[in-house]
Amino acid sequence: MSRDTGAEQLVGTDGGLLRFGPDQPLRLDSRAVLNGLEIAYRTYGTLNADRSNAVLVCHALTLDQHAAGENPATGKPGWWSKVIGPGLALDPAKHFIVCSNVVGGCMGTTGPSSVNLETGRVYGLTFPVITIADMVRAQAMLIDALGIETLFAVVGGSMGGMQVLQWAADYPDRVFSAICIASAPRHSAQNIAFHEVGRQAVMADPDWRGGDYASQGARPEKGLAVARMAAHITYLSEAALQRKFGRELQRDGLSWSFDADFQVESYLRHQGASFVDRFDANSYLYITRAMDYFDLAEAHGGVLANAFAKARHVRFCVLSFTSDWLYPTTESRSIVKALNAAAARVSFVEIESDKGHDAFLLDEPVMHGALQGFVDSAAQARGLR
């Protein structure tokens, strides 16, 4: 499947690991250069003869390349199994769906927990700071290696939505349609503030060891768990928390101690504890930093519409959720406004939901219907069957 890009395919035909040779370094926004880049990815479906049915799915902060099918690390279904599958909006029978772990991640793509080939040691904090644009640049290298010129669609929610916007700005000629869900064109002060709380929690853990925990056989699990607990609250809504937990107790009566009396406490502790099993603390620092640095307008003279000046031909779909207070509808509206100002072709729906930011991962029939309608009509315009 790989063209003469010099990239080496290590496992399987439905994904695996792609390793780029020294002739193909990843040049980062920070001006640092990553050599020997590895990208872990999965694919679903088959690339058609004229290579026109490829869909790139971009994942959010703590997710991974296992968007559908079983996640081998957790044994659970992929994080977007409600969107990718037979008869669903993204259908492996029609589309060739690609999802890769972002650069800086910890699920196989080169990140701070990888070994630096030049030193033979785990990168840790010597890993360069990365950006959303860097993630997209790495994805473009993967797409090249897979022999895909133009993506039928680039799709993503939250941080995945940021990558979608970045694709439209940086590679407009390679994008036919773009779907940006529950996202923002830049990180707000509140977004940065929450991320800083998470990072400080990680770095306050003595087992973080100045970022060098891997070589010292330690893991800053407590700090990372607290970071996850705080972040998890921002993914939900007050109404959803109230509906799910209220003031329900774990046992009869209060313990008159600091045990997890309330069900919501127990739930958050579980979220934190299970997160540290699957995620690397330094990756959490690097990826949250990439999101904080994201400001698509800034790179285009402070005018967001300019970022989309060459993307007028792209069919955009922007979706938001009423109860999402992490990336509220106003953020999506600012994207829509910029796309209108750029005379791009944009559709936008604000979906009624009380599930907060995480709604894009959950059972939301209105979102699934909108996605299906948009994708099907774009497929028709693209001449897909």
């Binding site: 307008a297 402070g302 005018v303 967001l304 519409a305 300019n306 069919r315 779909c317 509206r333 600012s334 829509v336 406004k337 910029a338 209108n340 100002a341 750029a342 005379a343 072709r345 944009v346 559709s347 936008f348 729906v349 604000e350 979906i351 009624e352 209105v366 219907g369 909108a370 299906q372 309608g373 948009f374 099907d376 009509s377 774009a378 028709q380 315009a381």
Partner: protein, 234 residues
């Protein structure tokens, strides 16, 4: 949104036929309040227009997406400001002006965004409306205005005369006007004639604003204004 039937693909609707007649082929059109996209679809198929829509209900927008239309969920009173000046050849507002909070501002926005606007509205000056008010002393309920006063979405009803007065006030030129009477073909009229203010059940206007002072094209992409009052520096 009022009494016109919504059956079929819309091709038989008289107001739609009249709009199709007025819109030049291959132009750029924004329809505000496009519902499920029936008219936009017709315009794309029959006139080859590059159509965009704005619709307040998420269900309507979803239906439009499934038709392959580019439609944004939005509110005419609030979101027209997001469009750059002169981005369209036509802005269409069908049976909606009487439902917005600020019809005068919306009308001005339509003619900022587009070269021409096509606006249709129910005529509160129609003889049946007048007769109903005169004899019953209650807010009229007719086929065009089927809802009681306390639940009608029509919060800014006007007569044909009122609308032509507003156009004059805004320096808006009425290029064409047609009376739309129930189930009858559209009838070109001179809206300034008092008799039409008695006879037309609904009217459809093609308007423009030739003398308006224009801002330079597409200034809408300005960066978000910096906050003037800095909460934290006090």
């Amino acid at each position: 949104m009022t009494g016109l039937s919504m059956s079929g693909d819309g091709a038989e609707r008289e107001d739609f036929r009249e709009i199709l007649r007025l819109v030049r082929p291959g132009t750029r059109v924004l329809e505000i309040g496009c519902g499920e996209g029936v008219l936009l679809d017709l315009l794309a198929r029959e006139k080859g227009v590059d159509g965009r829509g704005m619709e307040i209900s998420p269900e309507g927008v979803s239906a439009c997406l499934a038709r392959g239309l580019a439609v944004v969920q939005g509110d005419a009173d609030r979101d027209l400001a997001d469009y750059p000046s002169r981005a369209f050849d036509y802005a269409i507002l069908s049976q909606t002006l009487q439902q917005v909070r600020d019809p005068r501002a919306v009308l001005s926005e339509l003619l900022r965004i587009a070269e021409r606007a096509i606006v249709s509205l129910p005529n509160f000056g129609h003889w049946r409306v007048r007769w109903s008010l005169l004899t019953r002393g209650r807010m009229p309920m007719t086929e065009e205005l089927p809802e009681p006063w306390w639940s009608t979405p029509n919060i800014h009803l006007c007569t044909l005369g009122d609308f032509t007065d507003l156009c004059a006030d805004l320096d808006v030129r009425i290029e064409a006007c047609a009376a739309l009477d129930h189930d009858k073909p559209a009838r070109p009229i001179d809206p300034s004639r008092g008799i039409e203010n008695w006879r037309a059940e609904q009217a459809l206007f093609l308007i423009s604003q030739p003398n308006a002072v224009r801002a330079p094209a597409a200034p809408a992409a300005a960066p978000a204004p910096a906050s003037g009052d800095d909460l934290f520096s006090r």
